[in-house]
Amino acid sequence: MPVLKADFGACQGYANCVAGAPDAYDIDDDGVVVLLKEQVPEGDLPRLREAARSCPVSALTIEDA
């Protein structure tokens, strides 16, 4: 199953991912992305790919496990 990944150092806290997929992404008190789940069911993939792609600094990826 595909897996959510994040480059925590690159994250700028713009939070577009949270707006796009609040079930998968959140922002912590330091302004850094939090992954709320690891694995992505196939049916969720298009929506989560769009949410990952909405990151202005390309800090988010979805990788094939």
Binding site: A15, N16, A19, I27, G31, R49, R53
Partner: protein
Amino acid sequence: MSHTGTTVVIGTSVAGVRTAQALRTEGYDGRVVLVGAEHEPPYDKPPLSKQFLAGTWEGSRLTLLAPAEAADSGIELRLGAAARRLDPAGHRVHLADGSELAYDTCVIATGAAARPSPWPAESGVHVLRSLADGAALRADLVRGGPVVVVGGGFVGAEVAATARALGCEVTVVDPLPVPMGRLLGPEVGAHFADLHRRHGVASRFGSGVEGVTGRSGRLRVTLTDGTVLPAATVVVGIGAVPNDRWLAGSGLLVDDGVVCDAYCRAVDAPDVYAAGDVARWYHPGRGTHLRVEHWTNAAEQAARVAHNIAHPDDPRPYAPVPYVWSDQYDWKIQIAGTPVGATRHTVIGGLAGATARGGALYTDDTGRLRAAVTVNWPRAQAVCRRLLTTHTPFATAVDQVKALASRGAAGP
């Protein structure tokens, strides 16, 4: 779902690129052609005023869609080919190189251009919108000498911050009494004036520009109050205008952008869509047509347009909460909703000084949260964006953000 035919996406900024990519994510398996006026591979614009201008990022790092990546996604790139004319009846786009492209569906994503400087000088007066603009401005900034930035909005403030970091002496000029005062209101805007001051950037807020004369290295900026500011380089950041003039004669309704319905379809050509800075669409939640010039809107609108093309049986209206960020000096500024038109606001946390971490929440006659401006507080911003989506009462929103502030203050 199987799609036949061709979608031609015109424009290679974030709206165009994301439309092409999202078509594939949405399962669209027709032909996708992405047409751009510039010769460079599609690139991202926010770093132009920051990392690229500062010289910490090479231009290649701004690439949004490398040719190999486009090929992998089945996106045909036609670069260096500006669209000259659209023929909606004939379903054709005519390009500057004399060729034409037939389409079944067309997406207009030609973006906006920097409003040109109204003050002609021989040289040394810059706008900032393209990679070429950024390279030219950087070349002048590293040569040194005083810089005058005309316009205290997002672009102007970011350029001022970067020029200052490069060691330039900088003055920001804006006819408004406080920067972004029209957007944020005078009280919150005053903190942004202080931000410039704290970083050693001079400001002339409340003064307009009468004229700019001379040439690069030896410019003179005359203000409406008679002051003359010498400058080596002048940057003019006074807004943008949609790239819609090429649509004159197409028959499409164009009125400061391509006028679209709630599904982002041109009102008089249902197989033509628009996305990003060039689209003026009907926002069903607002009950009015809007045109938004921010990165996140371009990306979100592109995704919605792609969905509506790929799933004609399930069209979805586009009713986003506007969102924009700006990185200025040591401040990360994030704005959701529309502060303009608010009747009052509440400040939570602090908006002053180097350790600022706070937000201003705005409301109006509806009694609901209308907008949130945060400084160095992404978590509160993320919460407010969610509260705006759900039309939360203002008092509830204030309570939630205050609770977040006390939690943050308690430390880990």
